[in-house]
Symmetry: C2
Subunit: 305 residues, 2 copies
C-alpha cells in the first residue's frame, strides 16, 4: 500500500501567502484521510491534486477557528461530487454542534451520508489494515492528537526454506502464505511459521497539533514513522509557547526523540517566521531527522520490508 | 479621491484554482469596502496587497455559503490587527444570525467594535462623499445588490471668469470655491455660480450577484460607471441560468445596456469555463464595454473632470 502524506496548511492562527491554515492529508492507495480543515483546505486539496471524492474520513483536532473554518465549504463542495459512501467526521466533543450548526446557518443539505463521531480518545476508524486512533493532547481547549496505524503485515515467504522442506511449488505455497498449516503428500504437516519470516511492521503516522510538549503525546507517538508536531515558536519564545499552549521547535524535537519517532515534521508555524533554516537547525540539535513543513510538501512513507 | 476596484473572487458555487469564491473590494483612498466574503477572501486580500486594517464595511449580498464562508476567518484575523474604528457588517435579514452564530460556535470574541445592519434595501453607509445603497436583486433567496456612490463634486473654479470680473486673486477665490458669495472692494457681490463650472458627477459602482436579469437591477444600476453583474453561464445555458436564478453573459450585457452603464464586469462564472474569450465575445455583441472578471484584476474608476 502506498502511504503518502501531504501538508496542506503548515501555518496557524492566521494564514499567510506561504502557509495556509492547518490541514494535512494522508493518502492510502485510493483512500484519503484529512486531519484538520482550516479555511482554504478545499483549494489546497485541488492544488495538491488530491481527489476530494476519495475522502474517507475527516479528523478534527479541536474547535479553534483556524482548524475548522474550511469544513463547511468543503462539505458543500463535496455535494457536487457523486458519492454514496458515507463520510466520517470525527473530533472532540462539540464537533457535531459546530458541523451541524454551520450547516444549518448556511442552509445546505448533505448530498451524501455523513457519520459524526465525537470522542475523547480511542479508535475512531478501522477498515482493513488501517485504523485511526485519537488521544488527548495538551492545549487551551480539549484537543485530540491522531495516529494513523497500519496493521502488521505477515512476514515474507521464505522460498528457499520451502524448497529445503520439499514442499511442492503451487497452491500449498499460497495456503502457507495465508497462514494455514498444510499436509504434504508424504504425510508431514508444515506450519506457516516454518516458511514465513517474522511479521513486518505496519507504518504509523502521528499528527499532534495544537499542543504543548506532553508526556501523553510522547506515549501516543511511540515509534511513529512520521510525527507531525506543533512547532509554533523558536526556542527563544519558550514562555510564549507555554502561555499560548503551543510548543517550540526544540520541544517538538524532544518529543520526537523521546517517542523514538523516525522523523519529525514541524507544523503550525507562527506567521512571524519567513525562513525555515534557523528553526530546523534548532530542532536538529535535539532530533536530526527534522523537517520544517511547507504547504504542499509530500512525504512518502515506505513500507517495511 | 482614488477609487479602485479589485476582484478577489470571480467564481461561484465551488472555487477553482483560477477563480476564488465571490468577493470584491473597492478601495476609496484610505478606506476599504468589501462586497461578499467567500472562503479564502482574507488570503485574496493579502494577495491583492490590500490592508485589512482599512476595512470600513463588509456588505454581504446573501447567505449562500459561497458568499459568506470566508467571513468568520476574516473577522478572527482582524482581531490580530489593532483597531478602534467600528467595522460595519451589513446584509440581508439573517446576516446577524449567521455572523453571531458562527462566532459563538467558534468561541471567539471580536477585538474591535462591530456594527451589524440587516436591511431589505436603502442607504447602508454614508460618510463624507461616499454612500452605499442596497436594493433587492432576484435570486433563489433574498439577495441584495449594492451601489457605492460618490457625491457630486463642485464644478471647477473658472479662473479666467474670475479675472474678467476683476476679483482679486487670494482668499476671495477660496470663499467662492467653497460656495460662499463674496463682496468685492468696489461693492459688487459675486455669486459662486458666476465663477464655478457645473457640478461634476460622482462615480457609481454597482455589484449585482447572484441574480437573474431583473428590471429592478437595471433601475438600481442606472448610469453606473462600472456594473459588476452575475454572468454565470454562456448564452446556450439560458434555461439553466433561469432555473438556478443566475444570469447568462448576454443577459448581463442586456442589463448593462439598458442601465446605460459605462462598463460591465462579468463575475460569478461557472467552474466549467476555462476560456474567457468566448464569453466576452457573446456579451460584447450586446454591450461592447464588457470584461470577464479575473481574480486580482484591478480597475481604476477615474474621477469626472
Amino acid at each position: 500500500m502506498v502511504i503518502k502524506l501531504v501538508i496542506l496548511g503548515s501555518g496557524g492562527t492566521v494564514p499567510t501567502l506561504s502557509r495556509n491554515l492547518p490541514a494535512m492529508a494522508i493518502q492510502c492507495d485510493g483512500l484519503l484521510f484529512l486531519f484538520d480543515c482550516g479555511e482554504g483546505t478545499q483549494l489546497q486539496l485541488m492544488r495538491a491534486r488530491l481527489s476530494m471524492g476519495k475522502l474517507e474520513c475527516i479528523c478534527i483536532s479541536h474547535l479553534h477557528g483556524d482548524h475548522v473554518t474550511g469544513l463547511p465549504g468543503l462539505l458543500m463542495t463535496l455535494g457536487q461530487i457523486p458519492r454514496e459512501r458515507p463520510l466520517l467526521i470525527c473530533g472532540p466533543p462539540g464537533i457535531t454542534e459546530y458541523t451541524e450548526g454551520t450547516r444549518r446557518l448556511l442552509g445546505f443539505q448533505y448530498q451524501y451520508p455523513v457519520e459524526m463521531l465525537e470522542t475523547s480518545g480511542g479508535v475512531v476508524y478501522q477498515e482493513g489494515p488501517l485504523r485511526i486512533e485519537a488521544a488527548p493532547a495538551e492545549h487551551s481547549c480539549f484537543t485530540l492528537a491522531y495516529a494513523l496505524i497500519e496493521a502488521e503485515r505477515p512476514g515474507r515467504f521464505l522460498i528457499e526454506e520451502a524448497e529445503r522442506l520439499g514442499i511442492p511449488a503451487g497452491p500449498l505455497y499460497g495456503r502457507l502464505q495465508s497462514g494455514q498449516a498444510v499436509t504434504l503428500p508424504d504425510g508431514r504437516t508444515v506450519q506457516p511459521s516454518a516458511v514465513m519470516g517474522p511479521p513486518r511492521r505496519g507504518r504509523k503516522i502521528v499528527y499532534a497539533t495544537d499542543t504543548r510538549p506532553a508526556e501523553r503525546v510522547i506515549q501516543f507517538a511511540r515509534g511513529a514513522d512520521v510525527l507531525i508536531h506543533d512547532g509554533m515558536f523558536d526556542d527563544d519564545l519558550k514562555d510564549q509557547a507555554q502561555m499560548k499552549w503551543h510548543s517550540t521547535v526544540v520541544q517538538a524535537a524532544q518529543v520526537a526523540r523521546q517517542a523514538q519517532a523516525g522523523r519529525l515534521l514541524l507544523t503550525h508555524l507562527s506567521s512571524r517566521y519567513y525562513a525555515d533554516a534557523p528553526l530546523a537547525e534548532q530542532a536538529r540539535q535535539v532530533f536530526p531527522a527534522t523537517t520544517v513543513a511547507r504547504d504542499l510538501m509530500e512525504i512518502d512513507v515506505p513500507m517495511y520490508k
